[in-house]
């Protein structure tokens, strides 16, 4: 660490900007919450790939106040892999039969853009995570 560049006052704000979004997760808050269903059925149907694709997109887009969690089997094994998107102050939206491509589209259009990808939606506002 020795010989490191000394910080200036304006640098503090920059560090804060950069790290704060990474840390919001510690407070359980964020603009969107994505739940990837990871029951045995979900994993078998490829939920891991969905998760990887999603995390990949998130870091590429450099928007980091998005919370990604997992849940157990949602009871609709035939539609796995599934994911639920909850935007702040909006009812949860459930997507089914996902592929990495589909989740990318959902990410761009729904999570970032705020527009539901209607053709992929399974249900709206039905259930919560717990």
């Amino acid at each position: 660490m020795a010989g490191k560049k000394k910080l200036r006052i304006q640098d503090l704000a920059k560090i804060r900007e950069k790290t704060k979004s990474l840390m919001t997760i510690r407070e359980g808050e964020g603009r969107a919450r994505v739940t990837v269903h990871m029951g045995t059925c979900g994993i078998a149907a490829g939920a891991r790939d969905i998760m990887d694709a999603l995390l990949d997109e998130i870091s590429k887009a450099k928007v980091q106040d998005i919370i990604v969690t997992t849940s157990g089997c949602a009871g609709l094994c035939s539609a796995e892999p599934m994911a639920t998107i909850e935007l702040k102050n909006q009812p949860p939206v459930k997507y089914g039969d996902l592929t990495p491509e589909k989740i990318k589209k959902i990410f761009v259009q729904h999570i970032l853009g705020g527009q539901m990808v209607t053709e992929l939606v399974l249900a709206v506002g039905s259930e919560t995570v717990y």
């Binding site: 910080l7 006052i9 503090l12 990474l22 997760i25 510690r26 407070e27 998760m51 969690t69």
Partner: protein, 605 residues
Amino acid sequence: MKHYRAHLLVCAGTGCVSCGSFKIKEALEKEIKKRKLQDEVQVVATGCNGFCERGPIVLVQPDGIFYQLLTVEDVPLLVEEHLLKGRPVKKLMYVPPDEKQPVPKMKDIEFFKHQRLIVLRNRGRIDPEKIEEYIAFDGYEAMGKALAEMTPETIIAEISASGLRGRGGAGFPTGRKWAACAKEKRTPKYLICNGDEGDPGAFMDRSVLEADPHAVLEGMVIGAKAIGAVKGFIYIRHEYPLALKRVEIAIAQARDNGLLGEDILGAGFNFDLEIVEGAGAFVSGEETALIASVEGKIAMPRQRPPFPAQKGLWGLPTVINNVETWATVPNIIRRGADWFQGLGTESSKGTKIFSLVGKINNTGLVEVPMGITLRDVVFGIGGGIPKGREFKAVQIGGPSGGCLPAKLLDLPIDYESLTAAGAMMGSGGMIVMDDKTCMVDIAKYFLNFLQDESCGKCVSCREGTQRMWEIVRDITEGKGKESDLPLLEELAQVCKDASLCGLGQTAGNPILSTLQYFRHEFEAHILDKRCPAGVCTKLIRYVVLSEKCTGCLSCKKACPTEAITGSLKEVHSIIQTKCIKCGACQEACRFEAIESQRDEAIQVI
């Protein structure tokens, strides 16, 4: 820094570390790697969470799920179920006493619900060994503001306006202390952070230093600018190795980043810090004694005036504040005096940290607004007394404080109310006692502590505490006389009046308050020769309750002196002449069949 979908916040305060939280962290990391989740899940060691009773603790964010009393064996299950399959593990969650359903989320647990975190705002949230994480949560913002936009006068005005009072015990207005030192012409000036937390049963400072060391550093830089100090010392007792280590790391990181040393943040201000390790003496907590200790001498208090603000370290102007006070400062500068003013009561502003310990369900560290009642703390946050026993007293303020009885449970917690009731805010130790605690024994305990910790300079304190201890010891051994109580009161009063420093001046409090509220217990010991709580060994006798005894032999096996007779499935009995009253039988009995009999007088030969 990387984006992780889940953060596992492992509590690494001393309480949890003592219960093996580092082993839990290791196991978690290993298991996560095994499950190939290392790129998705981050394991973070944080400072003390506060809920020490339930350690080791892991908080899973963003879900907010609170896992407690973990063992290494629980880890694979936790990782597989929660992190892989997304199913929170019920059996590792907190279940409130007298209830069956677990409370999964931290924010719903009674212990956390009623707290107001200001000084402890980063506890259990950041890794105290990473400066970036402190900065992420607005860290060093107040310092930047103070250095770039404020003058020493405006800083002092802000602190004065906030109404902040010293959190070390006496409650002296911080702004006034700073102003007095700023006024002094002589240089160099010094700052000291008093982290010699000697009160037994209190660990607020330790926790702040461990959980958020940068907050203390930031507060001190702001203070340095206010009074024009060039150098500061953080005094930490050597019994706190973890706190020492964390502060050392914090100072090094701050220096590396230009937040300490020369030309801080490019604002042209110089200030540096040094750690001083205490060597174990309660009296070092007194400010003049602490100064002597920093100078490498015997921690012996001296007469004030002159006050340290005028003549402190090496005879130069010095400001000494407690850890909690320093950690409060950045919050005030960042959020403004008005905001701080809005918290607490008329004369006591802000929040205070208490360590809630003893006979209480939720042992731990709590931060609450001033003015909250004792009842809210003990029963609301603390969850009441274990095993449904009766509340007897709460001891506040450490050896300088007093014991308050049940009838004062609705007393608001602020500096004046506590002092009026015969206790003291002190540094914030709160020890809860139930009906199995003997108040005479507690008085003896504190006097023993004080007579050992007295530096020995003043006759009143050295001899006074010793004589009081001797008298109370005799009372607990059944050798008390009626004339003892007025003599104790006289001694306590003189010790308070005549001693030089805070230690002696408050040494009478524990005895005066117990005499005031629990005189009947002293009288029972003196007149009836019995200990109503069943604690004082010389005044009790262990007996087997025949209706409860199942004849299981456990007590017989536990007895070191073969004082218990009886065979299997036969009611046991204790041969009193052989009994050494060690209490092993009572501990061994699963049926509560052994009582320390206390209703009948014991003849002392």
